[in-house]
């Protein structure tokens, strides 16, 4: 006989081992992504054909630098959650699955840090 609550019986099951938090974070980053995508497209259109000096100068505006940082972090977070689901859907063999999940996390961290580093470097005028 199971001596667990209905919740206790299902916690930690499923391919991701944690479901609701992942689901919710994907939605939170999706909602945040809507205005940030508009900002990104707007930024690129405004700075089309701009020289490097003009791009660097634009990042010295703290609002632009912060919005671009938010865009990168939100994008990276959302894409990591999204690809995790794709990997869990198609990769069932354990060594392959965990290797891909690990690569997904590493790639996301490298993208986040490289992107934020570039923005801050320009923003601080170094």
């Amino acid at each position: 006989m199971l001596k667990k609550t209905p919740l206790g019986q299902v916690l930690g099951l499923g391919s991701a081992k944690a479901g609701a938090e992942h689901w919710l974070r994907q939605r939170v980053t999706a909602v945040a992504g809507i205005p940030l995508v508009l900002f990104l497209i707007g930024y690129i259109l405004v700075h089309r054909g701009a020289s490097r000096a003009e791009i660097v100068a634009s990042m010295q505006n703290p609002i632009v630098a912060l919005l671009m940082t938010l865009t990168i972090l939100n994008l990276v977070w959302h894409m990591r959650l999204g690809l995790q689901v794709v990997i869990e859907d198609y990769a069932h063999a354990n060594p392959t699955k965990y290797a891909l999940l690990l690569l997904n996390t590493f790639f996301a961290w490298v993208m986040a840090l490289a992107g934020v580093h570039a923005i801050l470097k320009m923003s601080f005028g170094l």
């Binding site: 939605r27 999706a30 909602v31 992504g33 809507i34 995508v37 990104l40 497209i41 690129i44 259109l45 089309r48 490097r52 791009i55 660097v56 990042m59 671009m68 990168i72 994008l75 990276v76 894409m79 999204g82 690809l83 794709v86 069932h92 063999a93 354990n94 993208m111 490289a114 992107g115 580093h117 570039a118 923005i119 470097k121 320009m122």
Partner: protein, 131 residues
């Protein structure tokens, strides 16, 4: 960890069992554009890194993006970004428990496809200075 799958247990039906349609195509497109945008992040971070590095490096990256293959990739990037955003809005509406009626689902599929194409062309028309 042990492989707990039972080979004889029936699996849930996959793509090939359903009749195709625009809604199915949009669902698949949402996933494909998501994966494509994942790779596209590399381009955005590359561009930011180049801008933070040096003039010659930035000019090189700009030249790559301005080339014909570069523009084709960026055009696809733009469409994927807009389509995934519109598809995401559809998903958020469903998450609120709305828009599940057949008519609304079909309408959403058409609107997101047409909207993504129109908005992509509009962004590029502005970008290329076409008036």
């Amino acid at each position: 960890m042990a492989d707990t799958r039972n080979a004889r247990r029936p699996l849930s039906p996959h793509l090939q069992i359903y009749r195709g349609g625009l809604t199915m195509l949009m669902s698949i497109a949402h996933r494909i554009t998501g994966v494509a945008l994942y790779a596209g992040t590399l381009l955005l971070v590359w561009w930011l890194t180049a801008a933070a590095t040096s003039d010659p490096y930035f000019d090189m990256v700009q030249a790559v993006f301005a080339s014909v293959p570069g523009r084709l990739v960026l055009f696809g990037f733009t469409w994927a970004l807009i389509h995934h955003t519109l598809g995401g809005i559809r998903h958020l509406i469903w998450d609120m428990g709305r828009g599940f009626g057949l008519r609304h689902v079909e309408m959403g599929a058409r609107l997101s496809l047409a909207g993504s194409i129109i908005l992509t062309l509009a962004v590029w028309a502005i970008g290329l200075g076409v008036s």
